[in-house]
Point group: C2
Chain length 578, copies 2
C-alpha cells in the first residue's frame, strides 16, 4: 500500500522557524487570532485525514478506476464516503470567504493542507480542488446572489465545481473555441457545445455539480477577447437553493488515462443548457484566470505532494532492502548484504528527491505567503512576486515532482515497475500536473513573455536584491552569490536580446524557468540552513543544503550557456524537415 | 494508432555516408560478400515487418495484455501469428552463428533491425530479444552438442529463450540467491527455487522455452563466485531434438506492470526441474554476462526505438495541430491558428527528441561496429571500446529514450495523457529499459568503477585522441574541443580522487556517464555534419547539429561542477535521517 504520513516536523520548521508566520500574521487583522495551536490542530487533523482516509484508497482507486454507464459516472469504491468526510470537515472552505461560511484561513496554511491531500490521494483530491477553484472564481467575480447561493454549497462540498474550457481542437488556444451561448431574454443563457478533458465534470460524490463554462456570445469579438464565462449547474437551483430540474448537459464518455484513474475526466455535452453569466460579457477569460491562477499554484503543489509520497516510499525501501556491500566495506556483516543506503548512487537519488521536495515546500509556502500579503495586506511587492512566481510554482514544482517520482521508482529497481508497490502509480498520477492547467511550456512563456519582459526584469532583480539582503550561512554565500549573479546576468541578457529577436522568449523560456527555479531553491536551502535548529533535524537540513549546492545547483551553469543561444538554433530547421 | 515507419534515409546515411561500412567490411572476411544491396534489402524487409506486422499490434497488445490461467500464459491477440512471421523470416538468427543456421550478419546491421523492432512493438519484440540473448550465451559457452541442439531451434524461433536470474530478495545482488542445483550423477542436475521478473518465462508463442537459470551447487563458494548456469528447457528435448517430457517448472503468476503489457513477465517456480550445466561449475555469472552484455546494448536500443517512435508521433501532431499564432506574426492567416511548429518551445522539444535520437542511433551503431571488429577482426582497441561503451549505451540510450518519450507526450498536451493517441504507452513501455538488465545506476558504477578506474582512464583518453584526430567542421571545432577537454579533465580528476575516496566512484558515476554520453553525442553530431550530403537532408543534419551544440551540450558544464564534489555530499547524511 502507498502509505503516507504528513511531514509534520518539516511543516512546523517552515512555519515557525523559517518564515516565523506569527510575525507576519500579526500585521494582518484577518489572521490576528490564529495561534500556533490552531495551526497545529488544523495540520494534525488534515494529516490524519490524509493518512487514514485518503491514502488507503489511493491504490484501490487506481486499480478500480471510474466507470461510465449511460451518462452516469461511478467513482471507485470508498470515494463517496471519503469525499463526504473531507467535505464535512470543512476542508474545501478552509481559505474560503468567511461571509459565506468559509473559514478564512491563510493560503499559506492551505498550501500545506493541499500538499497532504494531493500526496495521499491525487485522484480523490481532484474532486475537491476543482471545487475550491470554482469557489474562488465565484467569490471574485460573482454577483452577491451568486455568492450567497453557490459559495456555502461549494465550501461544504455539498456541490462540487468543474471548469469547462478545453475543446477538442482548442486546448491552449481558447480563442478558437466553438461553444456558444445565447441570451434568453430572462437574464439566463442557453449553452451549446462540447468540452473535453473535464475533470470532475460528472461523478457521484456530490448532489450537484457547478460547471464554469467558457462560451462565445453571438457577435462576440473573435479570439480570446470574445469569450464569456457562465455558471452552468448540473441541476438548476430551486428558489430555496436546492438541486431542482436537471439541466441539459451530460457526460458523453470518460477518458482512459495514463493515471489519476480515480478522477473522472469527461467529455461534456451542453445541449442548450441553462447558464448564468458570471462577470461581464466577453471578460470570461480574465475571470477564468482567477480560477486558473489558484489552480496553477495548486497543481504545482500536486507535484510537491507526489514528490513527498515518492520519497517516503523510496526511503523506507532503501533502508529495509538488503543488496550488495558498501564501498567502504560491509556495514552489516551479520546479514547477507548491506542496506541500499550504503550505496552512494542510491543516496544521490534519495537526496535529489529530498532536496527538491523540501525546497519545493519552502517555495510553495513562499508563494502562498505572497498571495496572503497581496490579498489581505494589499502589498504591491507581494502581488508582483506572486504574479512572477505563479507560473514557476506550477511548472517547476510539477516538473520536479515528476522527476522525483521517476527517481523514486528507480530506487525500487524492478519492484518499481510492477503495480504491487504503487510507485509506478505515483509516476503516472503526477505526469498530468505538467500538462493540465496550462502545459508547462505555456507557464514558461507566461514567465518570460509576460512577467519578465513586460517589466524589463525588474521584479526578478528586486527579488535578487531581497535575497542578497537576507542572512545566509557563510559556507553558502559565495555559491549563492554566483548563482544570483548568473540569474541577473541571464535576465538582463534576455531582456536586451528579445527586442530584436521576437522568437527568443519562447526559445529560451523553459530553460529560463528552470534556471530561476534552481536558483531560488538554492536561496531557500541556504535560508533553511540558517534557520535550522541545533539538533538532528537541523543537522540534516545543513547536510541536505550542502548536497543541493554541490550536486543540483550546478545545473544552472549549463542552463546559462544554453540560454545564450539566439532563437535561430530552434527556428532555422524548416517545417518540412520535421 | 501508433504508426511506425523505419527511418530509412537516416539508416542509409549512417551506414554508407558516415561510417562507410563497406570499407571496414572489406577487411573482415566474414562480411566480404555483403553488398550494399543486401544491406538495403534486409533493412527494407525488416522495416516492412515492423511497420505492417508489429506496429499494428502495439496498442492492442497494451490494451489486452497477457492472461495467466492455471499456469498457462496467453499473449495478446495476434502476437502468436506475428511472432511466427518474425521467426520464419529468420530475424532471430540474423547475427547468429552460420555453422548452426544463423545468418552471420554484422551486429552493426542487427542494431538497426533491433531499433525497428523495439520501436514498432516493444512488448512483442521482447519474445525475440531474449531468444537472441540465449542463443549468444549458448553459442559462446555451450558444448558442441548443446549448440547443435539449441541454436537452430532458437535462430528459427521454434523455441524461445528466457533468463532466470532475479529472486525476490536478490536483484542486483545475485550473490545472495537461493535457487539450488543438485547433480543427479547422470550429468544432469535438478533445480529448485523461485525466480521473479522472468520476461518470456512462460507464453504461448512457441512450442518450447529454453530457460537459462542461475543456481548454486551444494558447497559452492558464497557470493557471486558460487553461481552456476543451467539450461532448463520447459519440455525436455527428446533424442531427435523435439519437445518431450514436461519439465518440473512453471509460471506461478504474471506481473501487473506499468507497461510492456504485451510481454509476459512470470514468477517461475523450479521444483526439481532437470537442468544441464552450461560452461564450468561456479562460472555461471561470467557466462550469464555474455548474454547480459548483448542484452545491454539491445536494451539501450530499446530506448532509441522508443525515442524514434515518439518523435514520429510528435512531429506529425505538431505539424497538423493548429493552436495559437507565431511570435513572428500569423504564418497561416487563412486558418484560425498556426501549426504548433511555429512555437519556439515546441520546436525546442521536437529538436531535443530528434537530436538525442539521431545521435543515439549513430552511437549505437558505433558500439555495434566495435563489437563486430572485436569479434571478427580480433581488434583489441575495439574490444576495449566496446567494454567501455556498453554500459553507456545501455543507460544513456535508455535514459534519453525515456526523456524523449516524456517530451513527445508533452508536445501532445492533454492528448498525450489519454490512451487514445498511444504516446503515454511509449512512456510506460520505455521506462523498464532504465531498470532491467542492470539498473542504470549499476551501469554507471560499472562504467566508472570497472571501465574507467581500472585502466586509469586510458580507454577514455584514447577515445578522446581518436575523436581529436577526426575531421570536424570548423563551426563545431572549438565547442567540441572544449567538451573533450572537459571530459579529459573530469576523467583524470575522478581517477586521482578515487584513490583516497572509496565512495567517490558511486557518488559521481551517474553524472559521469551522462557527461560522457553528451560529449560523445557532440562528436557524433559534428561527424554527421561533416559527412552530410549537400541536400535538404544534409542541411537538416547541420541545423540539428547546431541545435545540439547550442542547447544540449551545455549540460556538460553543470555535470563537471557536480562531479567536483567529493563523496561526502552524498555520504554525510546519517542513515537514520533518511
Amino acid at each position: 500500500m502507498l502509505e503516507y504520513r504528513a511531514p509534520e516536523r518539516d511543516f512546523e520548521f517552515l512555519l515557525f522557524e523559517l518564515y516565523r508566520v506569527q510575525e507576519s500574521w500579526r500585521a494582518i487583522s484577518a489572521f490576528a487570532d490564529f495561534s500556533d495551536d490552531i495551526v497545529r490542530a488544523v495540520l494534525a487533523e488534515g494529516g490524519k485525514l490524509a493518512a487514514e482516509v485518503m491514502a488507503p484508497l489511493n491504490q484501490s482507486g487506481d486499480d478500480e478506476g471510474c466507470r461510465w454507464e449511460d451518462g452516469e459516472v461511478h467513482t471507485p469504491s470508498g470515494f463517496r464516503e471519503a469525499f463526504a468526510q473531507i467535505a464535512s470537515g470543512g476542508w474545501m472552505g478552509l481559505s474560503g470567504n468567511p461571509e459565506f461560511a468559509g473559514q478564512g484561513l491563510p493560503k499559506l496554511l492551505g498550501c500545506l493542507v493541499e500538499e497532504m491531500f494531493w500526496g495521499s490521494n491525487t485522484g480523490l483530491y481532484l474532486y475537491c480542488t476543482l471545487t475550491v477553484g470554482a469557489s474562488i472564481c465565484i467569490d471574485t467575480h460573482g454577483s452577491p446572489e451568486q455568492k450567497a447561493l453557490y459559495l456555502p454549497k461549494l465550501y461544504s462540498g455539498t456541490w462540487t465545481g468543474a471548469m469547462s474550457l478545453t475543446e477538442s481542437h482548442a486546448g491552449t488556444d481558447l480563442g478558437i473555441m466553438r461553444t456558444r451561448a445565447e441570451a434568453q431574454g430572462d437574464g439566463t443563457y442557453r449553452l451549446t457545445g462540447t468540452k473535453i478533458f473535464i475533470t470532475s465534470g460528472e461523478h457521484d460524490v456530490a448532489e450537484n455539480i457547478v460547471h464554469l463554462v467558457l462560451a462565445k456570445l453571438p457577435g462576440a469579438p473573435s479570439g480570446s477577447r470574445g469569450i464569456s464565462l457562465f455558471i452552468v449547474p448540473k441541476y438548476l437551483p430551486t428558489a430555496d437553493g436546492e438541486p431542482g430540474e436537471r439541466n441539459k448537459l451530460g457526460s458523453g464518455s470518460i477518458e482512459h488515462k495514463m493515471g489519476i484513474k480515480g478522477s473522472a475526466t469527461s467529455v461534456m455535452n451542453f445541449d442548450g443548457a441553462v447558464g448564468y453569466l458570471i462577470g461581464e460579457e466577453n471578460q470570461g477569460l480574465a475571470c477564468m484566470f482567477t480560477m486558473m491562477n489558484y489552480e496553477r499554484l495548486s497543481v504545482g503543489i500536486q507535484g510537491l505532494g507526489a514528490g513527498e509520497l515518492a520519497y517516503q516510499q523510496a526511503a523506507v525501501y532503501a533502508r529495509e532492502r538488503l543488496q550488495g556491500r558498501s564501498p567502504l566495506g560491509p556495514q552489516n556483516p551479520d546479514a547477507p548484504a548491506d542496506s541500499l543506503l550504503v550505496h552512494p548512487d542510491v543516496r544521490r537519488m534519495l537526496l535529489t528527491i529530498r532536496t527538491l521536495t523540501e525546497a519545493g515546500r519552502a517555495f510553495a509556502l513562499f508563494v502562498g505567503m505572497q498571495l496572503d500579503l497581496a490579498k489581505y495586506a494589499k502589498d504591491a511587492e507581494a502581488q508582483a512576486l506572486a504574479e512572477l512566481l505563479t507560473p514557476v510554482a506550477k511548472a517547476f514544482l510539477s516538473d520536479r515532482g515528476f522527476d522525483c517520482a521517476v527517481t523514486a521508482q528507480q530506487v525500487f529497481g524492478g519492484h518499481g515497475y510492477v503495480k504491487e508497490w504503487g510507485v509506478e502509480q505515483i509516476v503516472r498520477d503526477v505526469r498530468i500536473a505538467q500538462i493540465y492547467e496550462g502545459a508547462n511550456g505555456i507557464q514558461a512563456l507566461d514567465l518570460v513573455g509576460r512577467k519578465v519582459l513586460r517589466d524589463g526584469g525588474n521584479t526578478v532583480r528586486a527579488l535578487v536584491d531581497r535575497i542578497t539582503g537576507s542572512e545566509i550561512p557563510l559556507q553558502f554565500q559565495e555559491r549563492l552569490r554566483e548563482a544570483l549573479d548568473r540569474l541577473t546576468r541571464v535576465t538582463t541578457s534576455i531582456v536586451d536580446r528579445a527586442a530584436d529577436d521576437p522568437a527568443l522568449a519562447g526559445a529560451v523560456s523553459t530553460d529560463y524557468l528552470d534556471l530561476l527555479g534552481y536558483t531560488l531553491y538554492a536561496w531557500l536551502w541556504a535560508a533553511m540552513a540558517e534557520a535550522a535548529p541545533d539538533d538532528d533535524f537541523g543537522a540534516a537540513k545543513w547536510q541536505c543544503a550542502e548536497f543541493y549546492f554541490a550536486r543540483i545547483l550546478p545545473k544552472t551553469r549549463g542552463l546559462e550557456t544554453s540560454i545564450e543561444a539566439d532563437s535561430s538554433a530552434v527556428m532555422q530547421l524548416p517545417d518540412s524537415a520535421f
